[in-house]
């Protein structure tokens, strides 16, 4: 038993799960056990969006210090707007809408990496400035009109099987795919190697440029996927739909035990962290805390979790 605990403690993702369960228990203790299942189902629904973009952000951050994608919220909006407008509430146009949205995201990734590689702009500035361009594009293309998603997309985003959102199952499969990508493919190994030492990675014969390019593309595409399913989930694309996802995408990566210094990625941690952040919000709402207190508590608790998890890692 102690043996299992030692092994578990060594996993960087364990803290996000402990925090998540603690917050959930505190909430249902307050409600006297009422709604325990519903809270989890809701958490799974809402957290899935954060998980998808978190996976993309995780890959970017893993390629090493200075790498971050700040254009994720804008890309979500652009993809949502493009998808709903191209689909035009018509099930028959579902596929072409998805392709158009992913195509737009692809261009975003291409543009981001172009700024970073060709113009040598630091990623943080490159993706921040490109996000203004992306958002402006979304605004001028969408004209601010909310178009309903086609029924099939809305169904896909909201269907539950035995209380588990279909979307969550889809994202679970995606997560397994990403985990496999990291551990078992040349691309994934290269990402981890670059994050530790880009010069050594190049001298070991790994393709550093192509891998970084692919990583920014992947992040943009995953943001695009989020934009599509989110517009299905929330009844259409809105220009503020990406709001809040910037901090969330980085927070779940950090809380989940992925190294901010690069070279170490953690997929399970993204799940734990995304659920934790949602449940934390639910808990504070249930307690009836005011908006100000909620924000303060969210900040304090996130710092506490990172400190506990990070402090333990340093001791080892």
């Amino acid at each position: 038993m102690t043996n299992i605990w030692t092994k578990l403690r060594a996993q960087p993702w364990i803290w996000s799960f402990i925090a998540m369960i603690a917050v959930w228990l505190a909430t249902i203790a307050f409600t006297g056990g009422q709604g325990a299942g519903e809270i989890l189902t809701a958490a799974l629904s809402f957290a899935t969006f954060t998980i998808i973009i978190g996976l993309g952000q995780m890959m970017v951050i893993t390629t090493g210090p200075g790498n971050v994608d700040l254009s994720i919220p804008a890309t979500i909006t652009l993809a949502g707007v493009v998808a709903t407008k191209v689909m035009d509430t018509d099930n028959a146009r579902l596929l072409i809408g998805i392709l158009a949205a992913l195509g737009a995201s692809f261009v975003v990734g291409l543009f981001n990496y172009g700024l970073i590689r060709l113009l040598r702009i630091p990623p943080i500035i490159a993706t921040l400035s490109s996000s203004f361009l992306i958002l402006s594009t979304a605004i001028s293309y969408g004209r601010g009109i909310r178009i309903k998603p086609p029924p099939m997309l809305a169904d896909f985003a909201t269907t539950r099987i035995l209380g588990v959102p279909l979307l969550a199952i889809f994202v679970l499969a995606l997560s397994i795919g990403i985990a496999l990508l990291i551990k078992r493919t040349l691309y994934g190994r290269t990402v981890l190697a670059i994050g530790q030492n880009p010069r050594a990675a190049r001298l070991a014969g790994l393709n550093v440029d192509l891998t970084r390019f692919a990583t920014y593309l992947l992040s943009a595409l995953l943001a695009g996927v989020t934009g599509i399913v989110l517009s299905g989930f929330s009844g259409g694309a809105a220009l503020n739909m990406g709001e809040g996802f910037l901090l969330a995408s980085i927070a779940v990566v950090v809380i989940g035990g992925t190294s901010v210094a690069g070279g170490r990625a953690n997929v399970p941690g993204i799940w734990g962290a995304a659920l934790f952040i949602y449940l934390l919000d639910t808990m504070l709402n249930t307690f009836g805390a005011s908006a100000g207190i909620r924000l303060i508590m969210t900040g304090v608790i996130i710092i506490a979790v990172i400190t506990i998890a990070g402090g333990d890692r340093q001791q080892r």
Binding site: L180, R184, T185, L186, R189, L192, A193, Q196, N197, R199, A200, A201, L203, A204, G205, L206, S259, G263, R264
Partner: protein
């Protein structure tokens, strides 16, 4: 007055029974060494004999496991560290230069002299370093307001030496010069050694570590010879000859002659042809299939850049690089030994798009045996290995890839002599099987394992030596030749 007299009568520094181990490697095995005030002590020995480790102990950057350190009359063994070494008057110029590249020379002087403060410290620092440079290296042409990173390696070394001799409020008792001339040309090297004698006449003690035995014999009062972490001989300089010095250092270098494999003249197809981009007037480099070609000359004269140029120019996956600077060019710190070994061969360990873990394990296990990586488990983190064993892992990485060209960037740093011999053997066997090696080495002995060598100077190839011409004299002569 009496205080001064008794100071002079005492030794400047006494090291007693100093021991230091790094993991399984015993770098210092009980060293006794005494340095008198106003003398120049030469310290010689083969690479890995423990000279640099001993000097790091004296400079406070390494803590000995055992032993006593007395400076003047004060036993400082207990509370000695790099930060109070300079208060005791110990200064050092190490092989790895230590100027901060983003600061000007004057600012770099401030780092070691806390006394330079208040309004106008910068002018004082500028004057201090400027005057010292003029004194040691007349006509040096270095601007003290330049950032250290903009200087070439020779200028950096000059600045570093001058800085070590500057004095503010702390005394100047001992200056350690560890291969101070390795990046200096013949003229500046002479200037330095002449200045060193003047400084010694003023009462400062110096320790000179150098592979150039002539300099040591000519400019030192006393010479200590180190071998396998011990001082094995210590006499007045005039009682040594070049020959007796080499004999005392141990036979490892000199006996190599007939023992090594006969050098070959290779006439197979050319695999590489390259011209250094860093110089205008330069020779051309060519490497044939199955050939071992050395890159020699003084350290930092463009050899590493040449290797990287070849690496970048080579067809994809046809070249592998073995780093000498492990930390910045080689090791992936977060990974296991196994992952570090297999990283360059991953594309061959796949089935479909996925890497097969069992193939990876097999390769790691294989190389653990073949190259003798000392670890209970290849899944342990790479940093659990000693430096030399990490280097073996990097060898395994390159040799285990399918590259036909292997580029080696002075890769034997920290590798013990037994392993070196095994690796030489392995390189020879791989070359015979058709692999080409380009081998930058700072150890002239290692050129004995090369079929041919190019001598570099200031980024240019200034000479090509065939195997039978590869002697220390010839190499040094070519390294110092005024023009190609």
């Amino acid at each position: 007055m009496t205080g001064l007299m008794s100071d002079i009568l005492e030794s400047a520094v006494t090291l007693t029974a100093i021991e230091k181990s790094f993991g399984a490697v015993r770098a210092l095995a009980g060293v006794d060494l005494l340095l008198k005030p106003g003398e120049c002590l030469g310290l010689v020995g083969h690479n890995g004999a423990g000279k640099s480790t001993l000097m790091h102990v004296l400079a406070g950057t390494l803590k000995p496991d055992q032993g006593r350190l007395v400076i003047g009359t004060q036993d400082v063994s207990r509370q000695y560290s790099a930060s109070n070494a300079s208060a005791h008057g110990i200064r050092c110029v190490f092989q790895e230069l230590s100027l901060c590249p983003n600061l000007t020379l004057a600012e770099n002087v401030r780092i070691v002299h806390r006394a330079l403060k208040g309004i106008g410290w910068k002018a004082k620092a500028r004057r201090l370093i400027g005057e010292k440079l003029d004194e040691i290296f007349p006509g040096h042409g270095i601007d003290v307001d330049q950032e250290a990173g903009d200087l070439n390696i020779g200028q950096r070394q000059m600045a570093e030496i001058a800085r070590a001799f500057t004095v503010t409020d702390e005394p100047l008792r001992v200056v350690i010069l560890d291969e101070p001339t390795s990046s200096l040309d013949a003229v500046t090297a002479r200037q330095l050694l002449t200045f060193m004698r003047q400084e010694v006449a003023r009462g400062t003690s110096t320790i000179l570590i150098s592979h150039l035995l002539g300099d040591v014999l000519d400019y030192c009062d006393r010479i200590a010879v180190m071998k396998d972490g011990k001082v094995v001989a210590e006499k007045e300089a005039q009682n040594f000859t070049r020959h007796s010095l080499v004999a005392a250092m141990g036979a490892t270098a000199e006996k190599a002659g007939p023992g090594t494999t006969a050098r070959r003249r290779i006439s197979s197809a050319l695999t590489i042809e390259a011209t250094p981009l860093t110089a205008t007037q330069t020779g051309k480099l060519s490497v044939r299939k199955g050939e071992i070609v050395g890159l020699a000359g003084l350290a930092g004269h463009g050899q590493t850049r040449m290797l990287i140029q070849i690496f970048d120019g080579a067809r994809k996956h046809s070249a592998a690089f073995i780093a000498g600077d492990r930390q910045s060019d080689g090791v992936f710190n977060l990974w296991s030994i196994g992952e570090n070994v297999t990283v360059s061969a991953l594309r061959h360990l796949r089935k479909g798009p996925l890497i097969r873990p069992e193939h990876e394990h097999n390769m790691a296990r294989n190389w653990k045996q073949r190259i003798g990586i000392r670890t209970p488990d290849m899944n342990n983190n790479i940093l659990t290995l000693s430096g030399g064993n990490q280097q073996k892992a990097l060898f395994a990485r390159a040799l285990g890839s399918k590259a036909d060209i292997v580029l080696m960037d002075d890769p034997m740093r920290g590798v013990d002599i037994g392993t070196k011999l095994e690796v030489y053997e392995m390189i020879r066997a791989e070359a015979e099987a058709g692999r080409s090696f380009v081998w930058y080495t700072t150890e002239i002995d290692e050129l004995k394992h090369c079929d041919r060598a190019y001598i570099f100077r200031n980024g240019a190839i200034v000479a090509e030596l065939q195997g039978d011409e590869l002697s220390e004299d010839k190499v040094l002569h070519a390294s110092f030749a005024e023009s190609a």
